[in-house]
């Protein structure tokens, strides 16, 4: 190409024009974009420089990361975007990426000849806004300006919001739902994050297109503050309001904290699911089904568990079973590598993306993170399946069996679920889903765990043996859902998910899906919120009927009281559950999440406290229409305050529905083999 006017001649001052202001884009845009390229390979560096010049950008090149950093520091506003190689001798490219993100908050694009999934994922989780595979073609460079614009857009929104939100966008309170749903679109979560997470394929991103609602970006520091506050208050007593006060971050709202807490709880639950979590959760879970045994252990934040989301299911399941279903110490040796906690929790990059592409990266911690890969994927399916289930009680095919791990265990669940479903069906159309969810809760729980891992890994993990099976599929999907970096072995919030208290729960009841009693129970299961989030992000959520959601929630609640930690919003959980449960079946996280949610909400409420044996509960559930809340299990401790604001049910529903739709053929449907859902306790 003929570069008649060499861009390089542009002076920095000129480039600082419009760009920095951020409001006006120069007419020549993107010409004049100030790019800093860092690569230790001189050949590549030269080629890149030439290409960038050909794109009419203003290029500065360095062959060492240190040089690049010092250049950036000297002239903070002198660059618009940074291109960096991953493998460099003096400093790891990811480290540089982090530095830049923290210090200068510029969009950074990573490059490498290495196209391995892990590496790309790492880029995403570290906050790269894009990842280019070498050899880099000029076409790829032509569009890098989009990242600058996107970031600016987010920042402006932030300012407009007038909150000093952490680098990301802020999420208006009311529109929590809306935000989630919208952000869910196209990987909004991706974009909103400060660091744009990049999906493996660089073009994944079709997100951030409209950051309508700014979201709070839970940066590492912010998250750490959050965790410190939570620990200070005690995970059981950690309520958003107090956390907010302790954190004392200007511009942060209670809703932000609430949703983040939800995710965190799930995450914790997930962790403890694998390892025993003695504290509160154990009480709840203990009662439950042995398979869920592990769930009880939610307390132990087992990052590993989370990390190994994929593996978790299998392992946890194994563990649970081995544990003898009783809440044995869940610590299954899930070989989960500790995922970069920070990253996990922050889900900057939906690493957990199950199957990569399955879910949109939920970059936003708040949102999508919850449903990393697995859950999300599962959700749609689950949702779909849930729907189907709802329709026909017998449809509950809980995917549980698929994972086969605990088919036996699942069976009881399925049975129960089936029954529950039936019952629920009656009461609420969707309840079927619920029932499945109930049944599924186990599944979902397990599944949910993985799914929930998005944020609430804890929940999921705690789920129970059965869910394990289900989860298995799910977990694998959510790769790093467990992002909750929080390694807090703290008491799993899951302990008692205030299902009852959560407003969501109440909503559910109103929906009719859950009987009143259930609602209270559901509270326990509250933990599922994460799935909810996931759904949102995924965008796929379709606004499912509440019933489904409820189902999920109920299910969850019943199952894992632990995981539910706070079901803060039943709806959320419901959604998640629904999706979860469905997902689980499919092995998709998402659906599982949904399914689990749904399940959770519906009948689980009773079970909540007791992630314990689903089987047992199932029976109970089946019998009781109202979700029997095993008092011991359901610990609605916290309640309501848990995320009152969460994602609006509407959003969840829509997300769920969407998911369902998208999941047209959810493989998973809850298959309750031969279980008839006769008495689905609703």
């Amino acid at each position: 190409m003929n570069v008649s006017s060499v861009n390089g001649s542009m002076s920095i001052s000129s480039s600082t024009s419009t760009w920095k202001a951020g409001d006006t884009i120069s007419d020549q845009f993107p010409a004049g974009l100030r790019v800093l390229v860092v690569d230790d390979d001189p050949t590549c560096l030269m080629i890149l420089e030439k290409m960038l010049i050909a794109c009419l950008y203003k290029v500065t090149k360095c062959n060492r990361a240190e040089t690049a950093l010092s250049k950036l520091r000297e002239n903070k506003n002198g660059y618009d975007i940074v291109l960096s190689d991953v493998h460099m001798p003096d400093m790891d490219g990811f480290k540089l990426l982090e530095h830049i993100g923290l210090e200068m908050d510029l969009p950074v694009i990573m490059m490498s000849a290495d196209d391995g999934k892990q590496v790309v994922m790492k880029g995403v989780t570290h906050g790269a806004c894009d990842y280019l595979i070498k050899p880099v073609r000029i076409e790829a460079l032509k569009n890098i300006w989009q990242h600058v614009v996107r970031k600016r857009k987010n920042e402006w929104k932030e300012f407009e919001q007038s909150g000093s939100v952490e680098e990301g966008d802020r999420q208006p309170k009311q529109s929590d739902d809306a935000d989630y749903s919208s952000s869910a679109n196209e990987g909004n979560w991706k974009g909103s994050k400060r660091r744009k997470d990049e999906e493996e394929e660089t073009d994944e991103r079709d997100d951030t297109s409209t950051l309508k609602k700014p979201r709070v970006v839970w940066s590492v520091e912010l998250h750490q503050q959050f965790v410190a506050a939570v620990n200070q208050l005690g995970i059981d007593k950690a309520v958003p309001k107090k956390i907010l006060e302790l954190m004392n971050v200007p511009g942060l709202t209670r809703e932000n904290v609430a949703s983040h807490l939800q995710k965190y709880r799930l995450y914790l639950r997930r962790l403890s699911g694998v390892s025993q979590h003695q504290s509160n959760l154990s009480t709840i879970i203990s009662a439950q089904d042995p398979t869920f045994g592990s769930l009880s252990s939610l307390s132990g934040l087992d990052l590993q568990t989370l990390a190994a989301t994929g593996q978790l299911p299998a392992q946890s399941l194994a563990r649970l079973q081995a544990a003898g279903l009783g809440r044995a110490t869940a610590k299954s040796g899930i070989p989960i590598t500790l995922v970069d906690q920070r990253n996990i929790f922050s889900f900057e990059n939906p690493k957990l993306r199950f199957g990569e592409g399955q879910q949109q990266h939920m970059t936003n911690k708040q949102q999508a993170n919850l449903l990393h890969g697995i859950p999300t994927t599962m959700e749609p399916k689950q949702l779909v399946s849930l729907r189907h289930a709802a329709q026909s009680v017998g449809n509950m095919n809980m995917q549980v069996p698929p994972h086969g791990a605990q088919s036996s265990q699942n069976n009881p669940l399925l049975m129960q679920m089936g029954q529950q479903q039936q019952q629920q069906q009656q009461s609420r159309g969707q309840i079927l889903v619920d029932s499945t969810i109930n049944h599924a809760p186990r599944l979902s729980s397990s599944m949910g765990q993985p799914i929930l891992s998005n944020g609430m890994a804890t929940n999921v993990s705690s789920r129970n043996g059965i869910p394990e099976n289900i989860r298995a599929p799910g977990y694998s999907q959510t790769p790093s859902m467990l992002n909750f970096p929080m390694n807090h072995a703290s008491e799993l919030p899951g302990n008692c998910f205030p299902l009852g208290s959560t407003p969501g729960v109440s909503n559910l009841t109103s929906k009719g899906a859950f009987q009143e009693d259930v609602n209270s129970e559901i509270k326990g299961s509250g933990g599922f919120m994460p799935s909810y989030d996931v759904f949102n992000d995924l965008n796929q959520h379709k606004p499912q009927s509440w019933e489904l959601q409820n189902v999920g929630i109920a299910f969850d609640s019943s199952q894992h009281s632990n995981s539910l930690q706070g079901n803060l919003d039943l709806t959320q959980s419901a959604l998640g559950q629904q999706g979860f449960s469905s997902g689980q079946m499919n092995g998709h996280n998402r659906s599982a999440a949904v399914a689990s949610k749904a399940m959770f909400s519906t009948g689980d409420v009773k079970e909540l406290g007791s992630a314990q044996n689903v089987n047992q509960h199932l029976n109970n559930l089946l019998v009781d229409n109202t979700i029997r809340v095993k008092s011991e299990r359901v610990c609605d401790t916290s309640p309501a305050n848990i995320f009152p604001d969460h994602f609006g049910q509407d959003d969840l529903m829509s997300a769920l529905l969407k998911q369902q739709e998208s999941v047209a053929s959810s493989e998973n449907e809850f298959d309750f083999d031969g279980y008839s859902m006769n008495n689905i306790p609703v």
């Binding site: 190409m1 008649s4 060499v6 050949t43 080629i47 030439k50 070498k134 050899p135």
Partner: protein, 154 residues
Amino acid sequence: MEVGQMQRRLVDYTKSLFMEGFLDAQFLQLQQLQDESNPDFVVEVVSLFFDDSEKLLNDLTMALDQPNVDFKKVDAHVHQLKGSSSSIGAQRVKNACIAFRSFCEEQNIDATLRCLQQVKQEYYLVKNKLETMLRLEQQIVAAGGSIPMIELGF
């Protein structure tokens, strides 16, 4: 030889390089980047590639010659070579590097030594070819002609 003839020879030669897999589409991109403001771009980049690669190959030889081979280091070098060869379009070198890396992972000393030989061989081959091609181009330019754009109908 007159210019037209030289140009045809160049075109044929260059095409053969693509056909035989020595070069790939990335090289075309480099050629397209060259223009009046940067008429020697390709020559410069290719020279840079040669220098850098030779250094890398030397480092690799030394690293594999150690009693205790540090495979991580070897892998890092190979990765680097892979990156630069792919950026320049030296396809066969890149492929040899890919194979090399997998053996590095296995820490198979014999296989890696063989791979090193393979990479070196490919490298010298493509170096030779490129030099020939660039020489042809220079001759054409010196004779007043212009470098024909290669149209590859892949």
